[in-house]
């Protein structure tokens, strides 16, 4: 039998090379993550000497035990969750309040306002003027610059507006014919239809807040308000774990050994919330990028 779909040898070669390279690239991404995971509960001596690379050895949960008993990490976790939640609620609400009117063809002044928002994508004051503003507003060492500054930008408004532009016009026309006010219409029709875009906006804000540390570095002085990322920076990069993590260990060598173990553990612990959200993140971020690119 001759098969029409028989591949030419060139195409077979193409597929072989293509799959090999792609699998190689995928492993390059996957392996470091896998290694961190197995190293986080392997004997730090085995990890330190290079014996652990495919399967965990000398399984121990001491690292996780110490992480979970550390009040500083818990506090950072709580702070980060709080900032992410506030940022998501405020940012998403403001984005919708701006984007919905901009999506209405009968909204007078739409173009001017659109320009007002979009300009900020190309011009901004920069770090120092923003810093001085926050100081003048007496917001230094409060959580508000950390929560508010990254909560909203013009790009997010553009994405939301593009979504609202796709809502059917007929419903609104018949609703307003029946005397339904704008606010009532938004509350009863627009918001229930907008769950996907609300999810996109909220996830954007959560990820940005959870992963950011720059605003906190500049605007927060009180260690009790530090988000998780600043605490991680002390442990992972500056090699200065907080007082309680290893203070009970006597020798410096043993301390260094445990700190090594803790480093792998905190990476996993810090990534956990986003890991749990990942199925949603993947779906909604892809949507967000695609909606944004239509306009952008």
């Amino acid at each position: 039998m001759f098969s029409i779909k028989r591949k030419s040898s060139g195409d077979v070669l193409f597929d072989v090379i293509n799959y090999t390279l792609l699998i190689g690239f995928t492993l390059l991404i996957l392996y470091p993550l896998y290694f961190i995971l197995i190293a986080s509960f392997s004997d730090p001596n085995q990890v330190g000497t290079g014996n652990v690379w495919l399967i965990p050895k000398g399984i121990t949960f001491e690292g996780y035990g110490r992480i979970f008993n550390d009040p500083v990490i818990w506090l950072g976790y709580r702070n980060s969750l709080l900032y992410a939640a506030l940022s998501a609620i405020i940012g998403t609400s403001l984005a919708i309040m701006a984007a919905y009117p901009l999506s209405r063809k009968d909204f007078y002044g739409c173009n001017v306002l659109m320009l007002f928002f979009t300009i900020t994508l190309f011009f901004n004051g920069g770090l120092i003027p923003t810093f001085l503003l926050i100081r003048d507003l007496n917001l230094m060492n409060t959580i508000w610059p950390v929560v508010l500054l990254p909560a909203l930008d013009a790009f997010v408004i553009i994405i939301a507006r593009t979504f609202f532009l796709g809502l059917p016009e007929e419903i609104r026309e018949s609703a307003s014919m029946d005397g339904c006010t704008n606010l009532r219409y938004i509350w009863s029709f627009v918001l229930p239809l907008s769950k996907p875009i609300i999810a996109v906006l909220a996830l954007f804000a959560i990820v940005r807040q959870w992963n950011g540390f720059f605003d906190a570095l500049i605007y927060l002085k009180d260690e009790n308000t530090y988000p998780l990322q600043l605490i991680l920076r002390n442990i992972l990069i500056q090699n200065q774990p907080s007082g309680n993590l290893v203070s009970d260990i006597q020798t410096a060598v043993e301390q260094q050994r445990i700190v090594g173990l803790i480093k792998y553990g905190v990476i996993i612990v810090a990534a956990l919330p986003l890991l749990v959200l990942y199925p949603f993140l993947q779906r909604y971020f892809v949507q967000g990028v695609l909606i944004g690119s239509v306009k952008g």
Partner: protein, 299 residues
């Protein structure tokens, strides 16, 4: 008439109030503050009453002994990033587009998008752990192969390779999404016709896929060049050590040091403004050039 159109939808204007206030306060007020780049700012006098000094701060920056190094580092790193990190997502998208097994494709996508969600602190933390001279995995491999341990994080020669590698590792998957979407929009009849004519897969990638996504590539390229000098602060700051500073000092980290740490507000605002101007000029130049050559452009 105009008033009537506004009054009918008064609630929409009410909704607009808060977002507009947010943008005026947090986006436009800092723009007003940019004038301190041309003034001698003192906190006692405030932004408005501080005396004008013209381009003094810019000239001082151009003549400062760090100027050449900071600019060189910034340009060098940006151009390398553009040359390496920009094309790789396109190649990955073209390759993924050829994968016909749905589950394999889905699996690869799930894996390669993931690093995008890893925080910069965690990413650089991982780099420190993997590259540690005595306990890191990479140095174990180097030693096992008969080499000597490399002091990656304290050697300025390694700063740029590590920066670019981590950038590719973290963003390639996510950046490929847009190209995959563009590839999905290519008319399948083109491929069918080419197959009938006996075109190989390689030829079809070359003559159908790449021309099909070229407009997308052009737009993203313009945006990338417009952001060329806009390298993020976070990664360079976290990777910076006292020893690699001669390669890792870039404009954003320099602005941070001068402005936030040493409180030279006017001077560092001038550097920030200088950087922003270069970006705008670049964006316009690239946009014009690309428009002339291919007819595609951003605005």
């Amino acid at each position: 008439m105009r008033l009537k159109r506004i009054l009918v939808n008064w609630e929409l204007y009410l909704l607009m109030l808060l977002p507009v206030a947010y943008f005026i306060i947090f986006r436009y007020m800092p723009m007003y503050g940019v004038q301190i780049a041309f003034k001698d700012f003192s906190a006692a006098k405030g932004i408005w009453d501080s005396p004008w000094v013209g381009f003094d701060h810019f000239i001082r920056f151009f003549q400062s002994y760090n100027f050449e190094q900071v600019i060189k580092n910034t340009v060098y790193l940006s151009v390398l990033l553009l040359l390496i990190a920009f094309p790789i997502p396109i190649i990955i998208a073209l390759m993924l587009n050829q994968v016909k097994h749905y589950k394999v494709k889905k699996f690869i996508q799930t894996v390669i998008y993931a690093p995008y969600f890893i925080a910069t602190v965690v990413l650089i933390g991982m780099v420190f752990v993997f590259l540690s001279p005595n306990s890191g995995l990479i140095n174990h491999i180097i030693v096992a192969l008969g080499g000597k341990p490399v002091m990656f994080m304290t050697n300025s020669e390694w700063f740029r390779p590590i920066y670019i590698f981590t950038e590719v590792w973290q963003t390639t998957g996510f950046s490929s999404i847009i190209y995959l979407a563009a590839l999905a929009g290519i008319d399948p009849h083109l491929h069918e016709a080419a197959v009938v004519d006996g075109a190989s897969k390689w030829k079809r990638v070359l003559h159908i896929d790449i021309p099909g996504i070229l407009p997308t590539i052009v737009v993203l390229f313009i945006l990338a060049v417009g952001n060329l000098m806009n390298i993020g602060f976070e990664k360079a700051f976290l990777m910076q050590t006292d020893i690699n500073v001669d390669a890792s000092e870039i404009i954003p980290t320099y602005v941070y040091k001068m402005g936030i740490q040493r409180a030279l507000y006017s001077f560092s605002a001038a550097i920030g403004l200088f950087n922003a101007c270069i970006n705008l000029v670049l964006l316009f130049i690239v946009n014009r050039t690309v428009k002339k050559i291919s007819g595609n452009s951003l605005f």
